[in-house]
Structure formats: C-alpha cells, structure tokens
Amino acid sequence: MSLWRIILKSLRQHWLSSSLAVFSIALGVALLVSVVSLREQAHNNFTQVGLGVDAVLGPKGSPLQIVLNAVYHLEEMPGKIKWTYYQKVLQEPLVVEGIPFCTGHSYAGFRVNAIDGRFLTDFEYLPGKHFSFRPEDGGEGKPFENRDEAVAGWEVARALGIRLGSAFNPVCGVRAGDPVHVNDRIRFVGILGRTGTPHDRAIYIPMTAFYTLEGHGADVAGMAVDEQHREISGAYLKIRRLPGGALHPGIMDLKYNVNQSPEAQIVVPTEVLPNLFSIIGWVDKTLLAIALLVTLLSALFLLVALLSALRERRRDLALMRSLGATRRTVLGLVLSESVVMAVLGGVGGFLLGHAIVAVGAAFIRVETGLRFSEMYLSWADVFLFPAIVVLGLIVGAIPAIQAYRTGVLKNLVPVS
C-alpha cells in the first residue's frame, strides 16, 4: 500500500475530525486572504492611483474632506474659492492645466458635479487614459455642449437605467430631503465608458448650468458671466512633471504659497490619503490580528485532530513497524498527513477567501466606484502555500515524533 493511500485511508477513517480541522484551517486562511487582499487594494486605490489628479485647489478646511469630495465624490466641500484666485494659481509656471468644478448637487443618491467641459475631452483620469463615449468602451452619446445637457458616469447610467435623451431634475444638496430644482430639467446627451474609478459614479453638467439653476438667486446666476464675483468649489490641477514622470518638486513651494492664503489651499491626494489609513489603520490591523489568531487556532485544532487520530492508530503503526516499516516511514507518514490536511485547508481557504473578495469587491465597486478586483493577488496569496506547508510540518512535528517513538511490542500486546 502506498503512502498516499495510507494517508487517504486514515483521513477517511477519521473523516469528521479531519474535515473539521481542514475546515477550520480554510476559515482562517480565507479570513487572512480576504482581509489582506481588500486592505492592499484599498491602499492602492487611495494612495497610488491618484485618479489623474496631481493636486486639488480647494477652500480652507479639512484636506481629507476636500479630496474625498473632489476625487471620490463623497463628503461635502467645506466652502468655495474665488474664480479670480483660481486664475491666479493657473498663472503659476508649475501648473500645466486646471479643471474647475462646482459640487453640492445630487440626483438619486449620485453626485451631480458642474465641471469644465475639458474634463470630458482632455482630462486623463489615469495616466494616458481619457474618458470615452465609444460603445465598445460601454459609453454612448457625446460631451455636453449646452446648459441643459448632462453626461452620466457608467455606474450611474447602469444603476438608474439612464438612456440618451432621458432627463432629470437635480437636487440642491446631497442629503435626503434636500430641495429639488423642479423647473430645471436636464437631459442626458452622453454616457461615459466604464473607467473603474469613482468618476463612474457621478453625473456631470456644465458650469453655466450650476450657476443658472432656478432657486440659486440672482447673485449666483450673475456668476455665470461675472468672473470677478464667480465662485467655484475647487479645481483639479495638473502639475508639471520631471522627465522620469515624478511630480516637479516645486509643488511643495506652490502648495506652501497657496496654503498661506486665507482664500484657498492646495491638497495633494497622494499625501492626504495615507492619513486616512492612519485614522482607520487600527481596523485592518485588528482584522488582520483576528485572521492570524483564527489561523493559529485552526493549527491547534489540526494538532488535536492529529493527536487523537494517532492515539487510535498506535496499534496500526506498531503493526506497520512489525511488517518492516522504519521509524522514519512512520514519521514521514504522520508529517505528510498533517501537510496534506493543511494544504487542503489552504486550497479551500484560498478559494473561499477570493470568493469573499469577489463579493466585497462587487459591493465596494457599486458603493464607491473604486477599482477592486477578485483576481487581485496579495502578499498573502504569494506566501500562502509555502506558509501552509511549513505550518503543516510544524503542527505535524509533535504527533510525528510520538509516532516515531511508538514501541512495537508495547502496542501489539492484545487489548483484551
């Protein structure tokens, strides 16, 4: 009988304790895999991607709030900045491009942002990538040109079933119960192709539409033509880059200079977002610790299962020894059994973990528009199987040594 057949037979003989041990390992591994994967993807989304925005010119207030509002279409902008100040910043040699916007409106739970039309045509939402209206990219229609026209992000169009030509009334605010601009009917002329970014979760209207919405009053309506009194929520800034692609270091001076002004501030998303992780870092550390503890407990469970199986098999092992099996064969048998159970648990945990990530990624994509993938391989995946084999060997060591020491004569003594 081969080693593998003996192992399979033993597993079958103690199927309940074996499957419970495998299941507990699978649970621990699944938790570890899913926590690490979601944590790494969240970190990548918030710190590395940058979403095409080198810097945000925004009002005074929380930098984190500004980034969440401007880039992720969450939260609310803490105020407004003057158009004339934005123009002054644009004159800085380091600033390559600016895209002004006004936030604060919504429709059916999605943000309605007034934005410069160049956002839809020239803006790179990721390096080298522009918004597309082509059907093969999931888009249709064209950018807005007139006051009463709008463009929907891919996720908004999908969620609300928006078709070209359908119309909506924007809500003046982002909270439930905020007043609706009942006399302002805005028609969708374009749907953006999927970008896999939070930009999929917003509706875009022209800046003039924002100022001239009914109910905003004469002062705001006047801002559509009067640049001296015009206000905006902020602007995306593209900063000059060095030949290697890195941001020009002069951005630090520019940021300092603007931040001394009582009117505005420059926020660099890739600087601010790591703060978010320092605030909520304890959550994922706690989850990671729980996952590690569960894995540790499942290893202990495996140890208990192996020890109890060994207790029942002392006679079998003694018989094997009497038939010519060496001490090393017995040692290898128990170690292999431990590794097989650990690997089975690892495979199950890997699959279960990625299933959890798939569900979580789909949920996060819908809720935030962030790019999460169930196929993402984290460091936990890379080290999973070598670690599982080592775990199996460590856990199996104690029962294997016991089996190694099993006395032939003592255990072959008739039991009755």
Binding site: Y256, L303, V304
Partner: protein
Amino acid sequence: MNCNILTVVLACTLGVVMAASGGCHRTDEPKAESKKASGEEDKHGHEAHHGGCLNAIELCSVGHAEVKLEDGVLRCWFVGGENETDKSVRVPDEEIRLTVRLDGGEEKPLVLAAKPIDLAGEKVGDCSYFEGAADWLKNVKRFVATGTVQCKGKERPIRIEYPDGYDPDDQPDASAGGGH
C-alpha cells in the same frame, strides 16, 4: 502525555502572542531615539517645508527662519514656532541686514529683501519671504549669520547657522527643559 504536550503548545502559543504584542512597544521607543540621534528628523521633530534648515528666532516657540542656499541666493522664510513650521509669519521689515561670518572667520554683510508671496496676498511690509544674493555665497558651504527682525511685535535677534540650523535649546548653556 497528550495533555502535557497540549499544555506546552498552548503555553508556547500564548508566549509568542504576548511577546509579539509586548515587542511592539519595546521596539517603538528605540526607533524614535535612533531617528533623533541620527538627525533624520529636525530638532524637536520640526519639519522644514522648503527643504532648508530651521533657525529659531530667540526661542523655538516664537518662530523660525527657514533658510535655503541655492546658486548664491539665500532664501529665507519666516515660519511659525513649535510645530507650526508650515505656517508663514509675516514681518514688517522691508529688508533684513545680516552679518555673515564664514567658516574661515571672515565677516560679510548681506541684505535680504522682502519678496512678497503673491498667492498668499503678501506685500512689502507684510511679508514672510526674503531673498538675498551675492557672488561670494556661491561657494559657501557653512556660515553663521546674525541680525535682527521685527517679529510678533518686537525686534528680535536672529541667528542663522547654515546648514545645521539653530536651536537655543541645543546650546551648551541652555537651561534644562526647553519647553518642548
């Protein structure tokens, strides 16, 4: 026998977990100490936002002059005290006259002129940024400059130690417990 083994394994596991959690606390402190000692961070953890060196104006709590020397141009930003080195401090001086003592002991005058930061709405007489240029500065690697500046309502002496920065708390005769 099995019970004994289990007890040992559980005890070891608990030991590892406790050592790991305890270890975190122990390793943090030496890290901070070694960072401070190696000079990776500025004195007292202040950050020089322009990449220059920070020089306390009388005391760290009053303010700092952040100084940077590039191509014979001495750039000087007056910034806040303590950890507020990212906030400008405007001074009414139109120029700041410094006496620069070079490494060899030679002394030279240098005038820093107010260069208002337009984006911050500054103007001469209400300005936080100054510049001074001289040919002899181009090859200078180290100097000590002294002068005065109107800061926070009174004329105060400034001492610029380039490139290390100046902190009165670090001076040999500084009283203990500098308030940081």
